[in-house]
Symmetry: C2
Subunit: 143 residues, 2 copies
Amino acid sequence: MSAAEDAFIRALSRVLLAMPRAVEHDMARGGLLPLSEYTALMHLSEVQGRTMRMSELASVSNLSLSGMTRIVDRLERRSLVKRVRCDEDGRGWNAVLTDAGFAALTESWPIHLASVRRHVLDHVQGEDLSRLTTVLQRIATDT
Amino acid sequence: MSAAEDAFIRALSRVLLAMPRAVEHDMARGGLLPLSEYTALMHLSEVQGRTMRMSELASVSNLSLSGMTRIVDRLERRSLVKRVRCDEDGRGWNAVLTDAGFAALTESWPIHLASVRRHVLDHVQGEDLSRLTTVLQRIATDT
DNA sequence: GCGATTTGATTGACGCGTCAAGCATTGACC
DNA sequence: GGTCAATGCTTGACGCGTCAATCAAATCGC
């Protein structure tokens, strides 16, 4: 491994560990949703009917199905989401974003955005943004 | 947030979640050290005397001190590291890489390298490597 | 020197996400 | 149409890393 590659991997590792913690911390300080829950609600808010199958939600969130079960459990307990049996398939469940869930999302996103901007986007200028996006997408797709 | 920024953040999030799991998985399949333990041994192997204070090891690994205590506990149980009281400060402990630990590291690194190369480095070509490294270092430093 | 504070590290309790096992429901096949 | 594998999701058990509390050694103030 070349010195440049080594430096890259070390920097990536640090970001991998430290950056999500920093954002998570900002969210917690604001009394807001943890990142995993925020992300789930965000995905729900972006689809027609604010409804997604558990498996689909897990997959777009890059989480195991059982992990998503736990998250929706927590969200449902706080009435931010409700579970509705799936019409076409009696085994399936839909997670549906409630109005309260949408409100929580609305409350959370400015802080989330500010945190992400401060910790990440502020450090990526101009042309780098699109180049890096391409690289990251390739890495993400492969995995 | 612009569409480009949004794409960047989403791609970064996916990499953050998926990539370490992929590498971890490769290590586990080879019956090798988990990433956290691998990293600790690696840091130890790189310093004079293969010795580091717990706090220093935690800090270079971007982990809490108590987290590092657990990791060194596991490593010590398998005799890959030993704890030695610190001379200059009776409260402190040094983690010292043992020969067995060094051997485990030697055994692990080819698979670790191959995994990192396959999942990450193969997707970063030419000039992107240094540009991306700079950005990641800025992000890591800030946090 | 002797209490009071600070510092280095460990421990207890906890939350999170994973895997493997379990439970329904569905769909295929005879 | 009844059995049997496959599918969608949940549950149990577990490992990991965090925070808050704790303990011991060191340092400061007097």
